[in-house]
């Protein structure tokens, strides 16, 4: 049976529910779950102050519903299990998660999958800035796992990411893959400026019809039809993400960069 958390809070102050994940609550009774600590701004409260809680978590599945845009850090450090969110949710979704699945049937805020180390986050709406990014000061961001955003996303996607896959189905903002160490970012819509600035390795792939203007520190290498793209797109389609036949058969212009930092990264522009 699923553990159901229905948000009933009426506050404009952030509610932070860090550490309340299926693997943590699995061993707890309903009464114990209700008393788990959360923050309301700087004040310590308990989960039951903001959520109506029912069901149980024996099947490692949590279901959250309600107006959750002010609820942050959902699924932080989750190890396994699954979370489904019906509606919009706040910032830091799946931060540092190591495994399991989070599905959002709505929009999500900034810092989705910040420094995540495994698992899958799939947002069926839009997302904010810094998807899969490193937190300020950190050496590396996302370091394994998959983030799929069906809609649009903001700036600094994959900031300093080290491994893993980020897919944006719609449009994206500026500085995609800024300081990227490795990993893959795919954008299916249009995007802003200065992508791949300072990237050392990794791939940023623009699948949309409008290509962004690249920085002068990226150098054209070849036009080709890499087999790995076919494999990756098929695997992406397995998650339910819409991949067209045209995409599967596309060819790409390959650019190497950022030349100011070794030039071992690559940007692919679909022709």
């Amino acid at each position: 049976m699923t553990l159901k958390l229905t948000y009933q809070g009426d506050t404009k102050i952030p509610v932070e529910i860090e550490g309340i994940t299926p693997d943590i609550v699995q061993q707890l009774s309903l009464a114990e779950i209700e008393q788990l600590p959360v923050f309301h701004g700087k004040d310590k409260c308990v989960l039951a102050d903001f959520f109506k809680i029912s069901g149980d978590s024996a099947d490692l599945h949590m279901h959250l519903s309600g107006q959750l845009t002010g609820v942050h850090w959902i699924g932080t450090k989750m190890q396994h299990g699954s979370i489904t969110i019906d509606g919009d949710c706040g910032r830091h979704l799946g931060s540092e998660m190591r495994g399991g699945t989070i599905i959002v049937n709505g929009n999500a805020g900034d810092w989705i999958g910040g420094e995540m180390k495994g698992g899958l986050i799939h947002v069926h709406g839009n997302a904010g800035h810094q998807v899969g990014a490193a937190y300020r000061g950190s050496e590396r961001g996302m370091n394994r796992g998959t983030i799929i955003i069906d809609g649009n996303a903001g700036n600094e996607i994959g900031l300093t990411m080290r491994r893993g896959l980020i897919v944006i189905g719609g449009n994206a903002g500026d500085l995609i893959g800024f300081n990227m160490l490795a990993g893959t970012v795919m954008i299916f819509g249009s995007s802003g400026i200065r992508h791949g600035a300072g990237m050392r390795r990794g791939s940023i792939i623009f699948m949309g019809e409008e290509h962004p203007q690249l920085l002068p520190s990226f150098r054209h290498a070849v036009q080709y039809q890499p087999e790995f793209m076919r494999v990756m797109l098929r695997k992406l389609a397995d998650t339910g993400f819409h991949v067209t036949e045209e995409n599967l058969n596309a060819s790409y212009n390959l650019y190497h960069g950022d030349m100011i930092d070794g030039g071992r990264g690559e940007i692919l522009l679909r022709t």
């Binding site: 937190y135 300020r136 000061g137 950190s138 050496e139």
Partner: protein, 562 residues
Amino acid sequence: MTASYLKLAGGYVYDPLNGVDGQAQDIWILDDKIVEPPPPGVRAGRVIDLAGYVVMPGGVDMHCHIAGPKVNMARKMRPEDKRRDEVIERTQKTHSGTMGSVPSTFAIGYKYIGLGYTTAFDAAVPPLSARHAHEELEDTPCIDKGFFVLTGNNHFVMKSIADNEPEKLKGFLPWLLGAAKGYAPKLVNPGGVEVWKHHPKGNVDTVDQTIDYFDITPRQIISELTRTANEIGLPHPVHIHCNNLGMPGNYSTTFNTMDALNGYNGHITHVQFHSYGGGEGEEESFCSKAQELAEYVNTHENITVDVGQVMFGETTSMTGDGPLGYYLHNVYGTKWFSADTEMESGCGIAPIKYRNESLVHALQWAIGLEWYLLVNDPWRVVMSTDSPNGASFTAYPQIIRLLMDSTYRNDVLRTVHPEVVNRCILADLKREYTLNEICIITRAGPAKILGLKNKGHLGPGADADITVYLPHENKQLMFELPKYVFKSGVLVVEDAEIREPLSGKIFHVDPDYDLEIEKDISDWFEQYYSVRFRNYPIQDDYLHHAEVVDCSQPEESPNKSS
């Protein structure tokens, strides 16, 4: 009056300065001082039974980085370091704070006093930023403190030496210390930071290399500042961070620096980082030269050292040695901050992670321990980690265990890079420190070296800064959690809880000088500085609680080699 006596009764007292080595004794406190026992019949207002406990003076950290612009910049550039570490929660009596390798101001005070340390000195403050450093120290509670003033790359100093005007230097140095309300002159990579400012990757390789524009050498800066500081009677004449820190083969520079003291009193700081053999930039031949250098220290009474022990883990390197910060950034590929403080100094900051599987890091760890074990006279070697450069000051209890327990030391040695035992003699050193010797290297010795007559001992007239430990076979556990810590006669810590977070005082010097020099300095300021001369000195009333330390130390005659 009777009621105001506090009597600490029957503890095993360690007071090496007064020749007390673990005898059960009473200590009488009146207000903030230790006093003679009152006449028979006079009873204490409060008696604390310390039977079975170990009683020592409060610890004295003579070299750490706890205030000033570099410390604040390190806090700002390492949010990830703080995010991962413990949070200091606010209580009714204490402020909240953050830890990481560079804790927030209040947290530094709480952690020092929690370890039984009651005095700490920041080792490198540019005089131009002294006001900022004093403001941070004002927010560092529970401990007494002070700072050393960067002078080794100061343009006025170098120009005075270049122009062969020792009287001008003899006027400027005391003026600068008094203006900054600092405690001692600090030489950081003398001359090298100036070269770094003029050339890409610039630095000096030896103490005899010429410094651009001034046409003088690091050796001249060391010799002249040391002689001048001794002549004006400073309680802690010079505190020297030698050239070529961290470089293979730098031991010869350290020898030359000690030689450049010309027999005058001088303190070589974080000497571990300056004790390396091997070819330039070569890991293949990197080895310890601690034995040769320690032998030199053993036979030259004018020299004292603190170690700068490296411990394994992540920390932040911060230094007035600008080229060193750049070097570390290039070696480890980490983020880096560099600053140029006008005509005074530089600064470099970079994160660093010491790993026990790294030959270089493990050897640095071993060389530090060699220094403690090879200097015969514990009064001339001081415990330090150069916090946070080698490790946080919170590592002191673990270092104590390494020194007091050779079995534990060898156990740890077996876990580090296997080549270390071939590059140093640590495995052959069987010496174990006694509690009395630990008391010397952590409080009595540094207090004496700093010239603080009321610190580091428990005799009448001493400040009532006292730490009480519950004896334990594991000395790390014993020193990590004191039972009681008294500061200025007040019980500040009991069972790891802060009862009364006092504000400590600032120690500084105010040496006399020929007022005629102010005309020269004023002209210099108006011509080159971004600050007007009259706005530069810190006024007496700027410090809320300060103690001026006497500058009439008897001038020791040079050539005291034994």
